[in-house]
Symmetry: C2
Subunit: 466 residues, 2 copies
């Protein structure tokens, strides 16, 4: 001891700053290492991590799951009505985003969108009637993810809506998503005014048939090469889909024009796509689900196959634990707000669109999309840093989705719950922000992180199942 | 001396490596500073540089010229026939790229394109007839740049060709360029087979009227915001125009469909644009010329207003020296060659497309377009380095053309001949590579540098004029 006291001290402090503060106050140099125990020291999660972190069986299972995700070939096959295409989509069903949630617990924007859907379907004559109908339990609610579907924000799918049909040409599974309405006052952000419903009616009556006719002439569109190309054009496929929308438009234009659709209807349909830089978001999300569903149900795999939020809870599903949801309270998103709105107006994180991050896109591919920071906040350096950081929590890289800015490295993909718990690095998500009240709509866009608790719970469940 | 010999030596060597080699061979550490005298030590150029390098009159003139370039507002106004729109475009005139060149001196691809143009105009029945006609001096040749026009590669404009009309809404000057034919076997690369001429006839008869009708309905399109947006989508506007072409298509689609053009002709026209990722190159070049012409003729200004190559000579024009060309032999381009071709097949650098670099785009904006290295060679790091290096030879930055990758800094623009001579940093150019024989077409794409001699000559002339 005496020699320690006699000599000049140089201290490395791991974890709690209080110890380092004391050393610094005493005038000695101190290096602070940021560290906290995995899963905030929760004994069960720590034990599960210790058991699985280097388990060869988990490694093998993840290789299998990741390979299936990589091999998947999502193809845009057509447009169909939800009631006819989506398995188990009975009348009086409304699908919503995220994990299961009851009507009374739904977030404002989701309730607003449900009311809009009930009006659209003619199940109710006004908002009060729609609320009463839902309150009496006469609408069947289910997550999109339980029906092979994904929906941005409120994620509402009702029977008469047209949906994109994306087929995995490699494994045969299909995924579905609605057609994107645009920004601002739209159903998925909880708006339900007559203009919102009129737009949805026109989309079903005119837009969907025109695009379906065009797609039928063009033939199925392979979505992985299209997404790969859009990444080289500054999209990240979650909050920036301008290039992908342009590429989709290019593929559809001639098909629509050479179809039997009358010229003025073709013009209106294509004009709508031209005017909506987010139009590719929905088929892109379906492509991501299609790829990830191929990785579902691999026993022992710790790879995340779903991240989704319903505006109340954030939920994940993991390949090795099948259909079980692991949830935590949904965070409020930091970001840039539209003029006249602030963080106080923001709903909690909502939507199935985090399927893009789950598939190695969105926040995980942000390095490809430096211009996005003008929409979601941050700096181009942050965009690079986010992609690089996500390498620490993923199974591998997707060589179909390369990032020129990083020497054409593949995007980090296949979130590993073990790595999230071990490192404390939470998956980053680029997302839109809805107003917390029903009927208002989008108020901004920003960045958030998945809650750590989902991953700790999933890891514990995986250890139990092993 | 004795103290110098006794002590350990550390040598900094500026310039010639031979001295450093001797020090290194003797075992002493040596730092090598790369340096060579400006203009290879040419006394007249060095004297001109010494006189003008810090001349407040030149600085003021450059501020005036650069401000005019920045203020210019190029607007895509319409499509017209060359013979009707281009000032001084008499019958039997063929415009070509670069500085003036006589028929007998023209490079292979330019002769090939001239032959194609003579056949297209019906001035000759076959190649021999076309060659004879040109040889007898019965075709009037002039640079595009002498007629407010710009043309990529051979740059051929003949009277019956349709041309884009771009107007500078701020200063009123106009610029013209042909419609882009696509890649491969095309007239501008020197190909002149029946398929090439048939395509040009269809472009004049069907494509131009369809797009003109669409543009008339859409209304004039502001090109600076469009270019600025395309830079955020990975274009650099010389060898990568895929995003800009998509943005132009988006603006034209509805206009074409709502015009009186028959549906199948509209479909064919839009399909052609969809299939040609270089379609925006030509109106983009006209936009660049429009902006730079606003900066012409400012007495004393050392800002470059033109860089252009005719396949034999590389020429520049400078604001303060008016219409005079300063030329040097055109370089052969390093790059990636299409399958079956090598550097031995390459023509010398050719085309007016270096107007993009002159305007702060192309190689100067390469940092915005990392994916382009798959087409022109190099690495994403080189793309960044090229843009950063060009800051040393330019008057300023263009805030309308920002680069997300560089924290949204404006592209370096307004090449200053003084700085090129002073630093020895030659402007970088992204460009296509034509086969050196007539009639073959494009064989690759790559990077090159403007020859230093042009800038030294221009500087001497500027000093004489001052």
């Amino acid at each position: 001891m005496s020699s320690l006291i006699d000599r000049e001290l140089a201290v490395v402090n791991v974890g709690l700053d209080a110890f380092a503060d004391a050393v610094a106050a005493a005038g000695a140099p101190v290096v602070r290492v940021q560290w906290s125990p995995p899963a905030d020291g929760d004994p069960e999660a720590v034990a599960a991590l210790a058991r699985l972190v280097a388990d060869p069986a988990v490694e093998a299972a993840n290789r299998t799951a990741f390979a299936a995700y990589l091999e998947a070939e999502p193809v845009l096959e057509g447009i169909a009505l939800a009631r006819e295409a989506i398995p188990g989509m009975t009348e009086r069903t409304i699908l919503h985003s995220g994990p299961p949630v009851a009507w009374k617990d739904m977030a404002g924007p989701m309730q607003g969108a449900v009311i809009g859907a009930a009006l659209l379907e003619g199940w109710a004559a006004d908002e009060a009637g729609a609320r009463a109908l839902a309150g009496r339990g006469e609408i069947r609610f289910a997550p999109c993810h339980h029906h092979d579907a994904v929906g941005p924000m409120a994620g509402i799918v009702c029977p008469s809506m047209p949906v994109w049909v994306v087929r995995n040409a490699r494994h045969g599974n299909r995924a579905y998503s609605t057609l994107n309405e645009g920004l601002g006052k739209v159903l998925r952000y909880g708006a339900n005014s007559p203009e919102v419903l009129d737009r949805l009616r026109w989309m079903a009556d005119k837009l969907a048939p025109a695009l379906a006719a065009g797609l039928a002439r063009t033939g199925p569109i392979e979505l992985k090469p299209l997404i790969g190309r859009a990444l080289h054009m500054g999209d990240e496929m979650h909050n920036r889909n301008v290039a992908a929308t342009g590429l989709l438009l290019k593929r559809l234009v001639a098909g629509v024009l050479r179809s039997a659709i009358p010229a003025h209807e073709a013009a209106a349909a294509l004009e709508f796509v031209v005017g909506n830089d987010f139009f590719f978001l929905n088929p892109g999300m379906a492509a991501c689900k299609c790829m990830l569903d191929a990785a579902r149900g691999v026993p022992g795999s710790s790879m995340v196959t779903t991240m989704a939020r319903n505006g109340v809870e954030f939920g994940i599903r993991v390949s090795g634990t099948g259909d079980a949801w692991f949830t935590a309270p949904a965070p409020v998103v930091d970001g840039l707000f539209f003029s006249g709105f602030t963080r106080a107006d923001a709903a909690r994180d909502i939507g199935d669109s985090a399927i893009t991050e789950t598939a190695g896109l969105g926040g995980f591919a942000m390095a490809a999309a430096p211009a996005i920071v003008q929409f979601v906040g941050g700096t181009p350096e942050l965009a690079l840093a986010n992609t690089l950081e996500m390498r620490h929590v993923t199974v591998g890289r997707n060589p179909a989705f390369t990032i020129p800015q990083l020497g054409f490295a593949g995007t980090p993909a296949g979130i590993d719950v073990r790595k999230v718990v071990d490192t404390g690095i939470r998956p980053v998500i680029n997302t839109g922000i809805a107003h917390r009240a029903p009927g208002v709509g989008q108020v901004g866009a920003g960045l958030t992180r998945a809650p750590a608790a989902c991953f700790a719970k999933a890891l514990v469940a995986l250890a139990r199942a092993a």
